[in-house]
């Protein structure tokens, strides 16, 4: 031990610059350091959902979906470069052959591109009426493709969405199974919803219980730090984790399967933020009730596992028995997953999923109020 150590204490500590805001950001940085170092957090919140997308996406990937195009060769070339080759093959056919291909299920969708003249291009999208569940995803793909055609061929901005006539092909003899591009469009928003959901419910909630039972919370409470700053820093660092989830999951889904984010990226960000905050509140609420880490884990799993299977993450809930649909309608995750799917796979804007958004915001507020009343600093197992 150094001899002058005691007298140097005043020199060792000095007021930190940046004031309360500086302290807050520094606490966020330290929280992120803790998150990054904890391998479990990375595995459960990022790696497992990523594997879900890769494995389930791969499992249902029988062959690339065929897009039949009737029109000029230039249009076919543009579409070939615009649509990811591993998900789509673009075939040039006559108009009649293209319609037949959709009708017999060998093509997912047909695009009939006029030879020229109109600005923007009036492209006819032909879908198979037998595949009702997938047509939303198909339309989204088709619209994106047509937008690209207008951009490259006519120099119109991609925002100028062309008029799209959707014609149902008649005489469809078989309903082709969900092609990879369609299922992955369905799966990706669901898995993203589940990832953000568990990060809030299990991740943040469990860490709060651990901090409380180990006595870290009470040590922080013995400092003059306002508790709002402490919790705020926890919440903000959790939102950074959610941002990492979004970027990794959507990035990989796009690179590997060509999954897009839909027409309203800002709405997607907004809905994800509301969902993340809602489930974070649920996590704090569970932490308030649980007597220890083990109990929190049990409660968290009881809360989240049924939702994983019944809230329509892996398969469309609309095809399930009515009692299952009724059950899923009381599950918070259902609204998050439906909302994200509406934005990403069904080409909707935030306004169209405002109902889901409202449910999440309302549930989040209720959970927040309850969490605030049950929050505890002291270890529940404390003997003194």
């Amino acid at each position: 031990m150094q001899e002058r150590g005691g007298t140097r204490l005043a020199e060792i500590t000095c007021p930190a610059s940046g004031g309360a805001a500086g302290t807050f950001l520094e606490l966020v940085r330290m929280n992120l350091l803790i998150l990054r170092r904890n391998r479990q957090i990375l595995v459960f919140n990022v790696l497992v959902p990523l594997l879900m997308i890769l494995i389930f996406g791969g499992l249902f990937q029988s062959h690339p979906a065929m897009v039949a195009v009737a029109g000029p060769a230039r249009a076919v070339a543009v579409l070939r470069s615009a649509l990811p080759a591993h998900s789509f093959t673009v075939e040039r056919l006559s108009r009649a052959a293209a319609r037949r291909a959709v009708a017999d299920g060998s093509a997912s969708v047909a695009l009939i591109v006029p030879g020229g003249g109109t600005r923007p291009l009036r492209v006819t999208v032909v879908e198979n009426a037998a595949n009702v569940t997938d047509n939303g995803a198909r339309t989204a793909v088709a619209e994106a493709a047509v937008g690209r055609l207008n951009q490259v061929l006519l120099g119109l901005p991609p925002a100028a969405v062309p008029v799209v006539a959707t014609v149902a092909a008649t005489g469809g003899t078989r309903s082709s199974s969900l092609a990879s591009s369609d299922y992955i469009q369905f799966l990706t928003p669901g898995v993203l919803a589940y990832a953000v959901f568990t990060a809030g419910v299990l991740g943040a909630g469990l860490r709060t219980v651990t901090d409380r039972e180990r006595g870290t919370l009470r040590r922080v409470r013995a400092t003059p730090l306002p508790i709002g700053s402490f919790l705020g820093a926890q919440i903000l660092s959790q939102l950074v984790l959610v941002a990492v989830q979004v970027v990794v999951l959507l990035g990989v889904a796009r690179l590997v399967y060509g999954v897009g984010v839909g027409p309203d990226p800002a709405g997607l960000a907004g809905l994800t933020l509301v969902g993340a905050l809602c489930f974070l509140a649920f996590g704090f609420l569970i932490a308030g009730f649980a007597r220890g880490e083990q109990a929190a884990l049990t409660i968290g799993n009881l809360f989240s596992l049924p939702q994983l299977f019944v809230a329509g993450i892996f398969f469309p809930i609309s095809q399930s028995p009515t009692w299952l649909q009724a059950l899923s309608s009381v599950m918070p995750l259902r609204y998050f997953s439906d909302g994200l799917r509406g934005l990403m796979a069904e080409g909707q804007s935030l306004g169209a999923v405002a109902g889901d958004l409202a449910v999440l915001a309302g549930l989040g507020l209720v959970a927040l109020v309850l969490a605030a009343t049950t929050f505890r600093f002291e270890p529940v197992g404390a003997s003194r």
Binding site: G19, E213, R219, R221, F230, R384
Partner: protein, 306 residues
């Protein structure tokens, strides 16, 4: 500001359900004092500290810390808690940085770690520290805001003898700096050698207090002389002996006049006949024993490594 109280606790009551953890405890600590609260486990030591630290609200009584409420005094108080309180995934240096920020200060971790005897461990994760090292890091946390009042809850429990002595040196230096120190302990020796004033607590109340010397003197001036003397007899009939015990060659003689007794022993046996002579005055353990009929060390401590 001599005479101003750093801590003023009056009639403190804290109940846990039907249990009175603290039952009308009074405590006044002057600025610049080094005070040890001594007592067995469950005596209410930790609860009393937690009320002073603002971690628990009293069920009755008044508490003033540095002339303020416990909550408002936090910025000027350094706290070492007995348990946990560390982020497993942070290093020692990062832990000091984190908690320093909680006080709104920037800490230079290297000299602070040297002060508590954790030199070279700045980059080690706290989960990989030994129990004693964790405790010393907790003590460093108590210093990271350059506090006027340092509260240490059993600072040396679980430490090896060398670390314990180094911690005592540190506490003395902090005291010499002019800081007020309040610590709890269930080690007799720690209270005797370290504290200016000892407050003996049992069952939630103060049963005696004073300097270690004064507390012991109130028990009387008798000391015990122990010695080994082969083939000796009748030592219990020497003039100064109050009473005596014998186990083979080992004698224990209680006396009011240790000097006189030693002279008489030397005269009787000669220097060569006396071995392992030890003179021991009463300890704070005897004070506690006289007051309560029980021993402090009789209550095992959960954190004890030995």
């Amino acid at each position: 500001m001599a005479g101003q109280a750093a801590v003023e606790v009056g009639g403190l009551v804290k109940d846990y359900g039907p249990v009175h953890a603290v039952a009308g405890l009074d405590l006044r600590i002057a600025t610049g004092e080094l005070v040890a609260i001594l007592g067995p486990n469950g005596a209410g030591k930790t609860t009393t500290l937690e009320v002073i630290e603002g971690l628990r609200r009293a069920d009755g009584g008044t508490v003033r810390v540095l002339g303020d409420s416990p909550a408002r005094a936090r910025r000027r108080v350094g706290v070492q808690l007995q348990e946990g309180a560390l982020y497993a995934d942070l290093t020692c240096a990062e832990t000091l940085h984190y908690f320093g920020r909680c006080y709104g200060v920037r800490v230079d971790p290297v000299p602070l770690l040297v002060m508590v005897g954790l030199e070279g461990l700045g980059d080690r994760r706290t989960e990989r520290l030994s129990g004693g090292q964790k405790r010393r890091l907790q003590i460093a946390l108590a210093l990271c805001n350059n506090p006027e009042l340092v509260i240490l809850d059993e600072p040396t429990t679980g430490l090896d003898p060398l670390s314990r002595r180094r911690t005592w040196d540190l506490v003395r230096r902090l005291h010499q700096d002019g800081r007020t120190i309040l610590l709890t302990t269930h080690y007799i020796e720690e209270a005797e050698t370290l504290a200016q004033r000892v407050v003996i607590v049992d069952r939630g109340t103060v049963i005696d207090e004073g300097s270690p010397a004064a507390l012991v003197q109130r028990l009387g001036t008798a000391v015990t002389v122990s010695l080994t003397a082969s083939a000796a007899a009748g030592l219990d009939r020497l003039p100064a002996v109050l009473d005596a015990g014998r186990d083979g060659d080992r004698w224990r003689l209680r006396t009011d006049d240790a000097g006189g007794l030693l002279l008489a022993l030397t005269a009787r046996l000669g220097g060569a006949g006396l071995r392992d002579v030890r003179v021991q005055g009463p300890t704070l353990e005897d004070v506690f024993l006289a007051r309560t009929g029980r021993r402090i060390a009789a209550v095992p401590h959960p954190d004890e490594e030995a």
